[in-house]
Symmetry: C2
Subunit: 409 residues, 2 copies
């Protein structure tokens, strides 16, 4: 009798986005004429820049002719792309070998799959609030206990509480954990880790022989030179950190699918087992994966040329300007706004002591703006909502105008 | 202290293809002038047909303009593509609902990941010889014991011995198993399951409340109307079978990456839990995956139009003609050749009682042809080698000429 993976039963039903959709649908039915402003989801809206489009076109064209057609590529990523990625790191003083860089079909699959090279009895820690994939994939793998409804937490996971007081980047936990998920610039809070904050985590990881899974998917939005783009800019990170990144936000590749993961061969895990995590991830990828689309990869190479990078920077600037518009507007309304500089997300305190969901309803009903209730990202997200700065400029401008005009505070 | 997944240690080191590469390299160094004919790997060589190229080009072009740009797609697959896939099944009398079809970045990832929706204590069965991914992914997940060197098998897996006597499609096992992996047309043997053979497996699965993972990645090569393309053409398969398929071989998408999996909502697992496997796979895909590349998906839609399908059929015909050329030639040499009709692989008995590896060496040294030793696919592959029919026609013709002229039998 085939039995299903029992750990799926522990998952709280995919509550957040279906619930948002349900409420938005109800609103749309009630007010069929009103335009909705969707600032809930972190999805790119602007077209892919010209030089990258040319790279994608060339890739398609190559597949049309016998002389240039290629079948299966390298499961770990085409060499020119890995070389371009290595070059980006080199400019930041980080030297990586090509077989430490693994190209993938995006950050999310890598974030989900990376836990599978670790034993089930590792104890994990996540920032709270957090991107749900860190948590859910460990629940499904069986690395946690059940869901504790009173605390809105899974048993067995350590939640690092991110608050106003710690600039939404909690310090390392006081207890022992083996694997720590960090995201900077952060989804959902927009907080960006300082060198000191990351340094503290690296010290913790070295002391505990723990590993940091560093999600740098939003690093392209960092403009302030004080913030590291990669954890490897910090000393000793190569001994304890895996880094995951993406072309989604750099180049508008959310639908094209391309990302990468760095697993240093210098990673120290267990006692003295150096290089093994790299070997296991390689084995994982060659067994469960067949490489990112060759078209996406050639587009990725184009995105990392000088011209491509200039175009990508303009794309990020566009969303950052959106963030800035939202931030100024909400602040004019007297709201407390965090993030939104060096990050495409704004983390907004609900007025008074109203809940995330109540403020979500208020924004929807009074100003037709859809956001994401902070509590959906973890218990410490209660009392906040997340604004996403992805959107067409005119929609952003209309949305903030609607908030300024219609939201009753 | 972060600990690694201990099950990786059970894996026999990625032995087969690295070993082939090592021997081929040594040969190339020894005879630097000699042209090598690589009939080892099942990799497409012919360009993607024109109407599908136009679909891919249109997809890239859509991403270049604000009006047509799209970001994240549906993690389960774009609706037009799922509709086109449903239509293909409908023509074979198989009615599927759209939410039973899950689009992916290829058959291999789905084959690897599908086991993760099942509990770890399920007992699995594989055909022997077999595509190694079925075995390795279950080893890594911890669903098996260690590798038994004497038997060349993993403990805890049931190997269904495919031999000349059973037309290389073994009957269901005499013992109880929970999950059975079947591949037809088969990799590596080129055997194609008859309706009766599949029917026997369905009866077994219903009796044992087992699930069949049916790998149909080579179904586009079936020309003989007696053979089912999909297991769902058989009665009751919807109650016990998951089917995985791919655009790799249909449309030359090995590098483009596109496939799909069908998880019927009517699947009966455990006692009376109907629909749950579908729900779990949906949850798995939305948590660990972010959809196949939108470019590949629009190419897939083009491949399933009338024009696209005619072009794809010609592509498959080309490789089938290659297979036929190889088959005739090897038979003229007096070798026993199986498969190679309705399938792109030929399963060739080694002459006399020489081993897979010895015949590999003989073919390489005497005729400069690289094949895959059958023993690499499982213990019952000993005494066979696999020829792949993927290749340019002129290379195939030269390869068989070299065998006919130079191989000493």
């Amino acid at each position: 009798m085939a039995r299903l993976n029992e750990h799926y039963d522990k998952l709280v039903a995919g509550y957040l986005f279906p619930e948002i959709n349900k409420r938005v649908r109800a609103f749309a039915e009630k007010y069929p004429g009103r335009k909705l402003y969707r600032l809930g989801i972190g999805n790119t809206t602007e077209p892919i820049p010209p030089s990258i489009i040319r790279g994608l076109e060339k890739a398609v064209n190559d597949l049309a002719f016998r002389e240039t057609y290629t079948g299966y590529g390298d499961e770990l990523g085409e060499k020119p792309l890995r070389e371009s990625i290595a070059q980006i790191y080199r400019e930041r003083g980080v030297i990586l070998e090509l077989d430490e860089i693994f190209v993938s079909d995006g950050a999310k699959p890598d974030i989900g799959n990376i836990q599978s090279i670790f034993a089930l009895d590792n104890r994990i820690a996540v920032q709270d609030p957090t991107y749900p994939v860190y948590v859910d994939t460990n629940v499904i793998a069986g690395r946690t206990g059940g869901y504790n409804k009173e605390e809105s937490k899974y048993d067995g996971i350590v939640y690092m509480k991110c608050t106003v007081e710690n600039d939404f980047f909690a310090p390392p936990p006081n207890e022992h954990v083996d694997i720590l998920y960090l995201c900077s610039p952060n989804n959902p809070t927009g907080a960006v880790a300082t060198r000191e904050q990351l340094s503290n985590f690296i010290s913790y990881a070295l002391e505990h022989k723990a590993v940091i899974i560093f999600d740098a998917a939003y690093s392209a939005f960092i403009r302030d030179p004080q913030y590291p783009h990669s954890i490897y800019e910090l000393e000793n990170a190569r001994a304890c950190a895996i880094e995951i990144n993406s072309f989604s936000k750099i180049a508008g590749f959310t639908g094209v699918r391309l990302g990468w993961t760095v697993v240093p061969k210098t990673l120290v895990l267990e006692d003295g087992v150096v290089g093994k995590a790299n070997a296991l991830w390689q084995r994982r990828q060659t067994t469960f994966f067949n490489g990112a689309s060759i078209i996406a990869q050639k587009g990725g190479v184009a995105a990392l040329t000088g011209e491509g990078r200039r175009e990508c920077a303009l794309l990020a600037d566009y969303y950052l300007e959106n963030a800035s518009i939202i931030k100024r507007s909400l602040e004019r309304k007297g709201l407390s706004v965090y993030g939104g500089t060096n990050a495409p997300y704004l983390w907004v305190k609900t007025p008074g002591s109203i809940s995330s969901w109540d403020f979500f309803e208020k924004l929807l009903n009074e100003s037709s703006v859809v956001v994401t209730p902070g509590v959906g990202f973890g218990p410490s997200g209660e009392g906040f909502v997340r604004f996403s700065a992805f959107g067409h400029r005119e929609d952003i401008l209309e949305a903030v105008e609607s908030i300024e005009k219609n939201l009753k505070l």
